[in-house]
Each structure stands twice: as structure tokens, then as C-alpha cells.
């Protein structure tokens, strides 16, 4: 008599557990989706604005830019059908009037502490860097983070010819590829230079191919 009763109560508890958890899950899911939908426009706007600001800075205020996608080692103006655009490697092409003035490219490699994420403008016609901005880093505050805050260092990337070469402060002969590094943050400085050089070395064939194929991008 008692055994079935126990089994039954067990069954009801199990059912109740599922009901409670399921209910809670449903409510939670609902709340999250609501919040997600409510904040989505602003988050995306923020993100877009941040990207835009960075691109405008490193390409020196283009009139407009378009987003290109790296697909199978080629640049494409449109993501392939069905692919999630946000998960593809992206490159931005800036225009002043109708002329393309250069590509904005993001890159990340190890710095002193951890990865340094940066974006830079590159003019393939002259092989020069137009400008550079560090997007994210964990370098030492006061030393390595001068790659962001030292305007002199950032200005070093204003129209330098590739490949970049780091020289110590107060040295060098003003040859075109020289970038004066920050005293006390040689490693971070050198990392920035290395990141740009490596990135261009990898992307140059793609960019050149794209330019060759698209006359207006010259």
C-alpha cells in the first residue's frame, strides 16, 4: 500500500521540479529576450559609432567608407549568402569624393602583457600608413599604454612609408619608414610596428588584387 504512494509522491515531485524549473526558465528567457530586443538598437549603434570613429580617425575623415569581407582569401564587397557577416574578417575602404583613399585594417598580436588590438589606415597606392589607433590593450598603465595616450607616438604613424622600422628616441636619420619608439616602452612600441608590418604583409596581395579588379578603388 505504501510503496505505490511513495512512488506517486516521487513522481509528483519530479513533475513539480520540471514545472518549476521550466516556468522559471521560460520567464527568464522572456525577460532576457525583451531586454535584448530593447537594447539591441543602441548597442549596435554604439558599436557602429565606435567602428566609424576609428575608421574616420585612421583614414583622416573619409567622406564615406564601405565594408569589405575576406572570403576565401579574396576581398568581396558582399558576404556570401547565408554567412554571418559579423563573424567574417573585415576590411574597410574609405573614399574622399569618388576616389578611394585607403583601407582601414584591424589587427591584433601579442604586446608586452597581452594582445594589442589596433586599427590603421593604409594607402596601397603609395605604400604608406595614414594613421593608427589602438583599440584595446592591457599594457602597463603609464608605460606601455602610452601607445594610446602619447599623442607624439600616435602622430609617428602619420604618413610613414612601409615597411616600418622602430628607432630609439633621439636616434635615426629621418628616413621615411622610421617610427620613434617610446622610451621605457620599447616593447609595446615595437609590437605596434610589428603588428602593422605583419598585417600588411599578409593582406597586401588581397588588397592589390581587389584594387586591380575594381578600378574605382585605385
Amino acid at each position: 500500500m505504501r510503496a505505490p504512494a511513495a512512488a506517486q509522491s516521487e513522481a509528483t515531485t519530479a513533475a513539480r521540479l520540471v514545472k518549476v524549473l521550466g516556468g522559471a526558465g521560460a520567464v527568464a528567457g522572456l525577460a532576457i529576450v525583451t531586454a535584448f530586443l530593447a537594447t539591441k538598437p543602441r548597442i549596435e549603434a554604439n558599436r557602429a559609432r565606435a567602428v566609424q570613429a576609428a575608421i574616420e580617425e585612421v583614414l583622416r575623415q573619409p567622406d564615406r567608407y564601405e565594408t569589405l569581407y575576406v572570403v576565401n582569401d579574396r576581398l568581396a564587397a558582399q558576404p556570401p549568402a547565408g554567412a554571418d557577416a559579423s563573424r567574417l574578417e573585415q576590411v574597410y575602404l574609405g573614399y574622399r569624393g569618388a576616389t578611394a583613399i585607403g583601407f582601414a585594417v584591424t589587427a591584433a598580436e601579442a604586446g608586452f602583457q597581452d594582445l594589442i588590438h589596433l586599427i590603421f589606415g593604409y594607402d596601397p597606392a603609395t605604400g604608406t600608413i595614414i594613421g593608427m589607433r589602438v583599440l584595446d590593450n592591457r599594457e602597463t598603465p603609464g608605460l606601455g599604454d602610452k601607445i594610446v595616450r602619447d599623442s607624439g607616438f600616435v602622430a609617428e604613424f602619420d604618413s610613414v612609408v612601409l615597411p616600418l622600422r622602430g628607432v630609439k628616441a633621439g636616434q635615426g636619420q629621418d628616413s621615411p619608414g622610421e617610427v620613434h619608439m617610446i622610451t621605457g616602452a620599447t616593447i609595446s612600441s615595437r609590437a605596434v610596428i610589428r603588428i602593422i608590418n605583419n598585417r600588411i604583409q599578409r593582406l597586401r596581395p588581397l588588397l592589390d588584387a581587389y584594387r586591380a579588379a575594381r578600378p574605382e578603388a585605385r
Binding site: 527568464a28 528567457g29 532576457i32 529576450v33 531586454a35 535584448f36 554571418d84 563573424r87 601579442a110 604586446g111 608586452f112 602583457q113 597581452d114 594582445l115 592591457r138 602597463t140 620599447t186 616593447i187 615595437r190 609590437a191 610589428r194
Partner: protein, 192 residues
């Protein structure tokens, strides 16, 4: 290969979860009194981290592209359930191993280092292999910090620590000193 080695070292010493990233501090404070327990906790951590890395990769690849807002909830629920399942399996298969590690498993699941591992792996867009190496590195780093702290604490049990500093204050100051020492690894393999 070089890249993987850098990920390992970076997670283990350069950006040590405990000493440089402030993750998993509660267990670090709680179970660092004895070397023996520290070692077991460390082993359990490495194990759970590897599992987590697998879960996170699977979720990132198959589920989250469709519902990004579920990231957090799915991470925490999937990791917690998986650890529980594994715990039960271990209990069945190897009671000895369970006795050695088992009691630490539930402690770890709700620990921020584990969740952080999943999140970092996601934001960095790790591949499966990279994620696994990252998890092993982070776990080893955690174990290293735990064991060092435990052996220091054991030896300072015999010292005349001022009454004021006994307990957590001293542990934090030792952690600070360890963290200072770990700064020596900064920039490792990043090409000076």
C-alpha cells in the same frame, strides 16, 4: 606551434588567472592552507577547465550564433550540468579518484575562473585546439599559484605573524608579493 606555446605560457604565467587577472580568488583564499588540498583543487580545476572549454566551443559553434543573448545562461547551465554528470561518472568508475577530487568539483563550478575561461575563449574567438590549450594553461597557472600560496602558508604557520596580519590580510599581502614576482614574466615570448 609557436602560437599555441605562447597561448599556454600566457595563460599560465604572464596573465595568470589568479595573480594577474583576479579570477578564482575565493577558492584561492579558501583552499590554499594545505599543499595537499591545493594540489587536488588544482587538478580538479584543470579538469573542469578543459571540460568547460569543450562546452564553450560547442555552444559558440552550434548554438550561440542563433541566440547570442543566451550566452551567459547557457554557459553557466551547461557547464554546471556537465560537471555534475562527470562527477557522477567518476563516482561510478573510480571511487578513489572521486574521493581525491570529487568534493572540489561542485565548489569549482560556480567559480568565476571557470566562467571567465568560457567568456575569454569566446571573445577571443578561439578554435577548439586553441581553447583547449588556453584551458590547460589557465588551469596550470591556477594550480601553480595555489600550490605556491599553500606551501608559503604552511611554512608561515611556524612564524610569529603579528596578530593584526593573521588570516586573510597576510594571504592578500603574500598574493601581492607573488603577483609582483610574476610581473617578471611580462612580455614573455612577445618578441623583445
Amino acid at each position: 606551434m609557436g602560437e599555441l606555446f605562447w597561448i599556454l605560457l600566457s595563460a599560465m604565467v604572464v596573465n595568470n588567472f589568479t595573480l594577474a587577472m583576479f579570477l578564482g580568488l575565493c577558492p584561492f583564499m579558501g583552499v590554499s592552507a594545505r599543499v595537499e588540498t591545493a594540489l587536488r583543487m588544482g587538478a580538479a580545476n584543470i579538469f573542469v577547465m578543459v571540460l568547460t572549454s569543450l562546452c564553450a566551443w560547442a555552444l559558440n559553434t552550434f548554438v550561440l550564433p542563433h541566440a547570442p543573448y543566451l550566452q551567459l545562461i547557457s554557459f553557466i547551465i551547461v557547464i554546471a550540468s556537465l560537471v555534475q554528470i562527470v562527477e557522477m561518472v567518476i563516482k561510478k568508475v573510480s571511487p578513489a579518484l572521486f574521493r581525491a577530487l570529487g568534493i572540489y568539483l561542485p565548489l569549482i563550478t560556480t567559480n568565476c575562473a571557470i566562467l571567465a575561461l568560457a567568456i575569454f575563449q569566446t571573445t577571443r574567438g578561439c578554435t577548439l585546439v586553441e581553447g583547449l590549450v588556453f584551458a590547460v594553461g589557465a588551469g596550470l597557472g591556477l594550480t601553480l599559484a595555489l600550490v605556491l600560496m599553500a606551501s608559503i602558508r604552511e611554512s608561515s604557520e611556524l612564524a610569529d605573524i603579528p596578530a593584526l596580519a593573521k588570516g586573510t590580510a597576510l594571504v592578500l599581502i603574500i598574493a601581492g608579493s607573488l603577483s609582483l614576482a610574476f610581473m617578471g614574466f611580462a612580455g614573455l615570448l612577445s618578441g623583445g
